[in-house]
Symmetry: C2
């Protein structure tokens, strides 16, 4: 279970914020950063801003020396506002408008992700001389939130993409991949690293020396199940790099998002209604004031099962269907696998949804059903 920190408990007790809200404990974020930095001392850390772009989080990480993986010009501006310099920012989205690349270049950003020749050509036109890394497909097996084929090209295509960049005056800098979010298998990086090493060799034969492997994210948050430690991931990845690259080690970077901030956040919510649909219904419906459109989008397909704490934990439990407050029938959090909550739970009770520091505030809808987006307090 992710931590329910004393600082968050005190904040909620003293401030009693109205309505559903996320509270993030910066101490947990800082500890996570230091844990990544200590475990992988030769790897640069690019925090994936999209996981939670709260200014306080970006500032704390910038102060610790973090770099930033950004998906858009707006995220770059946030990283700059937090004190990052251009050399610590990567434009990691493989899908970029040419005018956004031009804006990034004007701000000094020189590191770009690509996965096809058309994207290389945009960068060559408006960000001359920049470094590009080619994202390759990875199957994401074992990830709780597996990735589609949306990003990356087949590893066999990467050398021609990188050579195209080289010919157009860009620096063919390296290879990236992503093993899937919430990846619980520490060995998942191995196959992708083998493919990356193959691309390095192929490029060397073409006379182009790649320098960097971007190991992506995938580092998990503790939800209901235990997950391996940052140290276990670090060791497995280091072993794979040594096995596939030998003594000619590449520079490496990682892009933790969920792994950096997920465990640092807790959502406070309220039970709005408890009901049954018929006199002989076996399973209660428990309706909260937060749902899929208020920040818990990652319950989609019940992929991520957040731990939920109540004031009545310890009482006898019973399975429930848990749903959100909107007039939308898809706004149901857990139904296929009902969720055990105390039988004594009552309308008006407060519940704490832990492990919610990542991919919650920014997923929330602007005003669906007139409900405000998720408020956040970073302490």
């Amino acid at each position: 279970m992710p931590p329910m920190t004393a600082r968050i408990r005190e904040f909620l007790r003293d401030r009693r914020p109205e309505g559903p809200c996320l509270v993030v404990d910066l101490d947990v974020v800082r500890r996570k950063y230091l844990s990544f930095a200590r475990t992988m001392p030769d790897t640069r850390i690019f925090y994936a801003v999209k996981a939670n772009p709260a200014p306080e989080i970006l500032k704390a990480l910038a102060e610790l020396g973090s770099c930033f993986d950004t998906a858009s010009v707006a995220e770059m501006q946030m990283a700059f506002a937090a004190g990052a310099t251009a050399d610590r920012i990567s434009f990691g989205n493989t899908i970029k408008k040419e005018r956004d690349i031009a804006t990034a270049y004007a701000m000094g950003v020189r590191l770009y992700a690509v996965d096809c020749e058309a994207e290389v050509e945009k960068i060559a036109r408006v960000a001359p001389g920049s470094k590009v890394f080619c994202r390759i497909l990875s199957d994401g097996a074992d990830a709780e939130w597996p990735l589609s084929r949306k990003f990356g090209c087949d590893p066999e295509m990467a050398p021609s993409v990188l050579e195209h960049a080289h010919r157009l005056g860009l620096e063919a800098y390296g290879v990236s991949f992503h093993v899937g979010s919430q990846q619980r298998n520490t060995k998942a990086w191995d196959a992708a690293l083998a493919a990356a090493a193959g691309i390095f060799r192929e490029m060397a034969e073409r006379g182009i020396r790649l320098k960097m492997v971007n190991l992506g994210g995938g580092f998990p948050t503790k939800y209901l199940n235990e997950v391996p430690s940052v140290e276990a991931y670090g060791q497995a990845i280091t072993d794979s790099i040594l096995a596939h690259f030998g003594n000619d080690l590449p520079e490496t970077i990682i892009e933790p998002g969920r792994g950096m901030v997920g465990e640092a956040g807790v959502i406070k919510a309220e039970v709005v209604l408890i009901s049954k649909k018929s006199a002989d219904d076996q399973v209660r419906w428990v309706y909260l004031d937060i749902g899929k459109f208020g920040g818990l989008a990652e319950t989609m397909d019940e992929a991520i099962r957040y731990p939920i704490l109540t004031e009545r934990d310890g009482d006898a439990m019973e399975p429930c269907i848990i749903a959100g407050p909107t007039c939308d029938s898809v706004d149901v959090l857990y139904e296929k696998t009902p969720y055990a909550l105390p039988i004594s739970l009552e309308i008006g009770d407060e519940v704490l949804i832990t492990g919610t520091g990542a991919y919650t505030t920014t997923y929330s809808a602007v005003a669906f059903n007139g409900f405000d987006p998720l408020k956040a307090y970073v302490i």
Copy 2:
């Protein structure tokens, strides 16, 4: 296909708005309202504000005499701001905080949805004497966007919920149901109306005379397939009411949302990237600057297939996978059933996604990946 109106074409040509945006033609909304009003002259129309709460839309409908189905206090405030009076507002969400019911009552709202005794008790405490209608489950068969069991109780339970309301001093006013959104079978209302008539009879035997049947929404938007006309729905519903209620006709209300505004809106978007994942890939990936998190959430499970117009329609077509611009692998719009687009389509081309007037702007995320929420222009 939904209309691409001359007014929207002119607006886009003259204003050339930057970035993805929705343009809504109020003339289409007004025509739809009048079509509902003409077809079902004895039925009160409660526009489902959640479908699109743009102030201009609410104002146009209020001027035509529309009532409003609201999901939250904020939506009620929007309806008031548009000129509606309290007697034209229903609090149609079955999941309400007691303090929100109290606020609605203080604003003069006297019509509330319930589906269980606990909700009745909240209303009795803070909105004494109000009218309540009990929502019953309906299986939503044939709907493109079927509803879960989230809202409503089994019809057998409805009489006890309504009798509970009566005993607590509320007016047991009627029954509601929802046959599923984008319901293309005009006969879908029949089974629910039969159940409603049964509840009316059961309540009469208990000495309580119900007055109203809320026929819900479900009226479709034309997407790629043709749908029956408003007139066809009106006729089928009228026939069912006569069959099940005989000469003792209840008051009726409808709650169109998608059916009122879906066809009135067009999203303008841009092709950001076109690529293949390997040299022998058969299907192109087409990436737009709008996706699941920018307003097209209803492409979830590819449930709704929006018509997409390009500047090159008429050229030879080829199937594509269509995806959004975010660094999120679930942000893919059409993949299971690829979508045919012109082979000549190019990066930077504008595309028009029609039938997008409902359930787009408010579904959009606050700032996922740093992208702005969907902008809207109501003309």
